[in-house]
């Protein structure tokens, strides 16, 4: 093929730039095995974090030979486990992590995994968030993901979540029973509870965070890591995030197999609810959402709710390390 001088110079420049960037060195770095073969993740009762479970085989492909879990409640306890170094990573709703970070905990958000998975179910006495004023609302515990999320929602519509809502703490199964009997007014469910409530026709959905604005415009769960682990093990961190993001895509692309995996590995017992979860939750769209916007949004909501004092900008600066996420957005397409 004939080539003009200009084209040749352009090509030389491109090649020179590649050399200058150390293409081969970068390639070798990308090829390097993880610094550590063992990782510890957090297991919570819900399965909205299904990508973490679906990722197990992918994590082995990434070079991890020992993948283990510690069990915690969802929310601040899961974030705390990572901050304390009892676990290295967890998929978690970003707001509890923000609370931990404001308190100085060494935990960092590494990238978004999926959009909303919370659904507020209520009796006929509640048709909007404002209707929660003076009502009895069940959550697993104070500072659980449910409590923090619902507090954010309440503050967003001008309620004072600490004063205006009568919080009741019950295990999820008990909350579902009490909602069916009309003994509580509302319950914030996440998978597979929401799927069970729908199947059993208990209550009605007031807000679906995966479908209703503004909640649906932001990521819900993100991957959080222990800051020191991330600093010491950047290759392992990127490989963990890659496996998790691929698994998020697989949950969307292959819902039946992903649901089977969750059941076979013992993370849930009802296949139909697990399958519905794969279809209901917005997996596989992590590329389209900006994790920094999510952190800023929830930092604002938590500030409104009086749960944090720091400015959202300060939280954004402290909370996230998105370098691997940005690279993976280019590596993994769908």
């Amino acid at each position: 093929m004939l080539q003009t001088r200009r084209e040749f110079v352009t090509m030389l420049t491109m090649a020179g730039a590649s050399d200058a960037l150390g293409l081969e060195a970068r390639s070798a770095a990308a090829d390097a095995p993880p610094e550590i073969k063992k990782i510890r993740l957090v297991r919570i009762p819900g399965i909205c974090i299904a990508p973490q479970y679906v990722a197990e085989d992918l994590l082995r492909t990434e070079g991890f030979t020992d993948v283990s879990y510690i069990q915690t409640p969802a929310g601040i306890e899961a974030s705390r486990a990572v901050a304390l170094g009892d676990a290295d990573f967890t998929i978690i709703f970003s707001a509890p992590v923000i609370l931990n970070i404001e308190a100085g905990a060494p935990v960092v958000l590494l990238g978004g995994v999926h959009v909303g998975c919370f659904e507020l179910f209520a009796t006929e006495r509640v048709h909007s968030i404002r209707d929660l004023k003076g009502k009895r609302v069940a959550v697993q515990s104070l500072q659980s993901s449910q409590h923090i999320f619902l507090s954010s929602m309440a503050a967003y519509v001008g309620l004072d979540p600490g004063k205006d809502i009568n919080w009741a703490t019950y295990p999820s199964a008990e909350s579902i029973r009490l909602l069916a009997e009309g003994k509580i007014d509302a319950f914030l469910a996440f998978p597979p509870e929401a799927q069970e409530l729908r199947a059993r026709k208990i209550g009605h959905v007031v807000v679906n965070s995966g479908a209703d604005r503004p909640w649906s415009q932001y990521l819900c769960c993100m991957l959080a890591g222990n800051r020191e682990f991330v600093r010491k093990n950047p290759i392992a961190t990127k490989r963990v995030l890659r496996a998790i993001l691929k698994a998020s895509d697989l949950c969307a692309l292959e819902p039946e197999r992903s649901a089977r995996t969750v059941i076979e590995k013992g993370y849930a017992t009802n296949y139909e609810y697990a399958l519905q979860t794969m279809r209901d939750v917005t997996y596989g769209k992590w590329r389209q959402y900006n994790p920094e916007d999510t952190v800023r949004f929830y930092a604002l909501r938590l500030h409104e709710a009086g749960m944090i004092k720091s400015s959202p900008q300060k939280i954004v600066g402290q909370a996230s390390d998105l370098r691997f996420f940005k690279e993976l957005r280019q590596e993994l397409k769908n």
Binding site: L12, D19, D31, K333
Partner: protein, 191 residues
């Protein structure tokens, strides 16, 4: 805050594709019964996919998409870009079965190779690329749809999950890797 602000669509199309590491090597049997390794394709950009020939639903979508791309690549196809489709059903996908599948889908075998191997070989390669596959009842194979682009130096550069990817984007990625390879060749030839 508006939806436009909240949702950031990735706009990094013009940047060089990242380096994911050395692509997992393979040595398999072609539709013509000869052995081929990934190293044999060094110097070409390679798109590696996983399919099986009796797949009735999704594999044909992927193969058809690739067939359209082979035409759009023009003179680069075969010369600078190669497609490698690896079966996940090696028990049934003999070289002859693969050849018949290739013909049915209009594959230009000057730039597209269909590969099979022993079940152990396929299992190992699929695992190394991160492709899950499992035989189901009635001969179907449940498997991950994953297309990996490998540059002319054998480095894995980008992976597409599923079959709904934008073919224009894949074409751009293939062409950018071709240009990158040409630029590197030009520098080498001047040294």
């Amino acid at each position: 805050m508006s939806l436009g602000t909240a949702i950031t669509v990735c706009a990094e199309a013009d940047e060089a594709l990242p380096l994911m590491g050395r692509a997992p090597a393979f040595a398999l049997t072609t539709q013509d019964g000869t052995r081929l390794t990934l190293d044999d394709l060094r110097g070409k950009v390679v798109a590696v996919t996983f399919i099986y020939t009796s797949c009735a639903d999704t594999c044909p979508i992927l193969t058809t998409k690739m067939a359209v791309l082979q035409a759009r690549l023009g003179g680069d196809f075969g010369q600078r870009v190669f497609f490698a489709s690896i079966t996940v059903d090696p028990e049934r996908d003999t070289p002859a079965a693969l050849k018949s599948y290739a013909v049915r889908h209009g594959a230009d075998l000057r730039g597209w190779v269909f590969l099979t191997g022993t079940p152990a070989e396929i299992r190992q390669i699929a695992k190394r690329y991160g492709v899950y596959h499992q035989k189901l009842a009635r001969g179907n194979v449940d498997h991950t749809f994953l297309t990996s682009l490998v540059d002319s130096s054998g480095i894995l550069r980008v992976q597409y999950l599923g079959v709904r990817f934008d073919p224009d984007e894949m074409l751009r990625d293939l062409q950018s890797l071709v240009r990158e390879g040409q630029a590197a060749d030009a520098v080498r030839s001047q040294r």
